[in-house]
């Protein structure tokens, strides 16, 4: 009960921000919330936001866990490109869908494993460790596609990107189900707390018997898997693998989603739901600008401005100011500090 309340309180800024953005879009584009059903499938701007936000939402799940360990994964965009290329290339060679997906996921796991080993065993700073794959990854993806956009026409693979399940586009179903699954596993087991412990104080956690290297590697593997799913979904959507552009700069959007979602870049307390809200905030901004008829050139500027505002609201300086205002009221029940940053 009290956990629910504190969760709501923790997510209040994100919920308010998302609400405000949706409200603003609705003001300029009243049809935003309307849904229509055709051929058993829902259509509408809201669905669009959820669907287009799928890659960043997926990435942000793994990114949240990696950031909670005091890490960062810059390679997810490149891993998306690699896994998309693997899936396309397997499909072109006539592999059945199961094999194709298995191959793509395995490659994601291997990429995560590589990052994780560099971080956990070679003790390389996460930002550099994952920079290596970020730089080399697109080269590897191009190696697989041989520099061209590799198109395929296996309808079952295309279904992953553009099909519908229970009336919803498949990518939405994938990220919602996957996020629920990961959250349940992390919070129902002790993984969540152990990951937070490692992120806050790795040495003390190791001394308490926490198997930090394994947890770190698991976090990066999860991030690799997320990138792999997102990569396959994007490739499936356009029925082709574009090594140059698939997932380009999405690592930055994912990191932004996590930060906007209230997980501190310094590691520790994390909230996957927060990150998903962050991802939706980012996508709502993108879609909103598009719908409201602003020239698309202004997209990035408005995005930057909104991000800066959200970050300033969350910054430690603003918090001291807020807590000063709050001091007149009874002190809130000790909410974990790391979670709010």
């Amino acid at each position: 009960m009290s956990d629910r309340v504190s969760l709501l309180r923790r997510l209040a800024p994100q919920l308010i921000a998302l609400g405000a953005i949706l409200f603003l879009i609705w003001l300029v584009f009243p049809a935003f919330f309307s849904l229509t059903f055709q051929n058993g499938r829902a259509y509408g701007s809201l669905i669009d936001v959820l669907n287009r936000g799928a890659p960043v939402a997926l990435l942000s799940i793994g990114m949240t866990v990696v950031i909670a360990t005091k890490g960062i994964d810059l390679s997810v965009g490149a891993v998306m490109a690699i896994c998309g290329a693997v899936a396309a290339s397997a499909s072109v060679q006539g592999q059945p869908i199961a094999t194709t997906l298995f191959l793509a996921l395995s490659v994601g796991v291997i990429c995560g494993l590589w990052n994780g080993v560099l971080v956990a065993f070679l003790n390389i700073q996460p930002i550099i460790a994952t920079l290596i794959l970020m730089v080399a990854g697109r080269g590897i993806a191009q190696l697989i596609t041989e520099g061209a956009i590799l198109t395929f026409d296996d309808p079952s693979l295309a279904f992953v990107g553009s099909g519908a399940f229970l009336g919803l586009p498949v990518p939405i179903v994938i990220w919602v189900v996957f996020a629920t699954l990961v959250t349940l596993v992390l919070r129902r087991s002790a993984l969540g707390m152990l990951i937070e412990a490692v992120g806050i104080n790795r040495r003390a956690s190791m001394l308490a018997g926490v198997n930090a290297p394994v947890l770190l590697i698991a976090a990066y593997i999860l991030s690799g898997i997320c990138a792999s799913i997102a990569g396959v979904a994007i490739a499936a959507d356009i029925r082709g693998a574009d090594a140059n552009n698939a997932g380009l700069w999405l690592e930055l959007d994912a990191i932004l989603a996590v930060v906007v979602g209230g997980t501190s870049l310094l590691g520790g307390r994390f909230s996957i739901i927060g990150s998903l809200l962050g991802a939706m905030i980012i996508q709502a901004i993108n879609t909103g600008i598009l719908l409201s008829g602003f020239p698309p050139q202004f997209n990035l500027i408005i995005k930057a401005a909104i991000v800066v505002v959200i970050l300033i609201i969350q910054s430690p300086e603003a918090k001291t100011l807020l807590s000063f205002v709050n001091r007149t009221r009874p002190a809130p029940v000790a909410a974990p500090k790391g979670a709010q940053q």
Partner: protein, 323 residues
């Protein structure tokens, strides 16, 4: 003591060995023509990487430089196409803008106590967005002054050309080496990289230094943008995407620790040279695809990071034995 120089020496050794090896395979690679081109082609990247070196030495990072370069080039192209002001004045205006932009990011990083990574990421979006607002098309620059600048070069023995923009990069490196090692600002940059709290206790003006560091990075990104516009005779808002990554790679390959406090501006030059060498080799080979550049740079990054870890482990081991 000497272990501070070890990464730098290793970088230098790798460059020399790789260069000699490639000239054995392709003798024409040992020519002033190739060297001159290498300097010209990498001039804008080199200048930007110098700014990145300062930022990384201080323990920060600047993701905005690629966007700032693009903004500078499109802004120059637009202003020269639509007004009649002299390019030199345009240069001055744009440099003031990019320097102020960097200073603003530094101020946000310092006063709002936010991670440089996130602030400069927002800066990256903002600068790219501003570039889009100026124009989303590629605008050619056809000013006679630009032709003068492009035509100026020293003919090197052997037929190579030492161009103005190549010279601009060399001068930038020389000036910044002096700034890094012979000025109080330079010492303060290293001090911040060694520990912000301690530096503050020792009297370093952290606010001023942080703002100055990002301002320098903005200034050099602006200069790099000018050089880029001279190099391509055009401005394009989608240009130089990901240049920040190449710059970071050059800095790290040049032996600077990404955690800050340790490294050399001169190392970055060698880092740039190695990247240029890889590209030149791939061009000479003709059969290798260009994506090998990225893979090779990735491998190089990995070997350097691993080597630095190795040095650290070795020296720890040694001091423990001694203790």
């Amino acid at each position: 003591m000497s272990q501070r120089y070890l990464p730098l020496l290793a970088t230098l050794a790798i460059f020399i060995i790789a260069y000699i090896a490639s000239t054995f395979q392709f003798p024409p690679m040992f020519s002033t023509r190739v060297i001159g081109n290498l300097l010209t082609d990498n001039a804008f990247l080199g200048i930007a990487a110098v700014g990145m070196t300062f930022v990384i030495l201080s323990g920060g990072i600047d993701l905005s430089i690629g966007s700032v370069i693009a903004f500078t080039s499109i802004f120059l192209a637009m202003i020269l196409a639509t007004t009649s002001i002299h390019p030199l004045l345009a240069f001055a205006i744009v440099l003031v803008m990019t320097t102020a932009f960097g200073a603003l990011m530094g101020a946000i990083i310092h006063y709002l106590d936010m991670p440089a990574f996130i602030v400069t990421l927002a800066g990256m979006f903002l600068a790219r967005g501003l570039a889009f607002v100026v124009s989303i098309d590629s605008i050619p620059i056809k000013h006679p002054f630009y032709e003068t600048l492009q035509d100026w070069y020293l003919r090197l023995p052997g037929g190579g050309r030492f161009t103005l923009i190549g010279a601009a990069m060399i001068v930038t490196f020389l000036v910044c080496i002096v700034i890094a090692h012979r000025t109080r600002f330079g010492a303060n940059v290293y001090a911040l990289g060694g520990g912000v709290a301690t530096a503050k206790l020792m009297g370093v003006d952290v606010a001023r230094t942080t703002i100055a560091i990002y301002a320098v990075s903005g200034l050099l990104a602006g200069l790099s943008g000018i050089v880029y516009s001279i190099y391509t005779s055009a401005g394009y808002s989608l240009a130089t995407v990901g240049v920040e990554l190449d710059a970071i790679a050059a800095v790290v390959i040049g032996g600077t620790l990404l955690s800050g406090g340790v490294g050399f501006v001169a190392g970055t030059f060698i880092g740039i040279a190695i990247q240029g060498l890889i590209q030149t080799y791939i061009t000479f080979d003709g059969t290798l695809s260009s994506w090998w550049t990225k893979i090779l740079i990735g491998i190089l990054l990995f070997s350097f990071v691993a080597m630095q870890k190795g040095i650290l482990l070795f020296s720890k081991d040694r001091s423990q034995k001694a203790g």
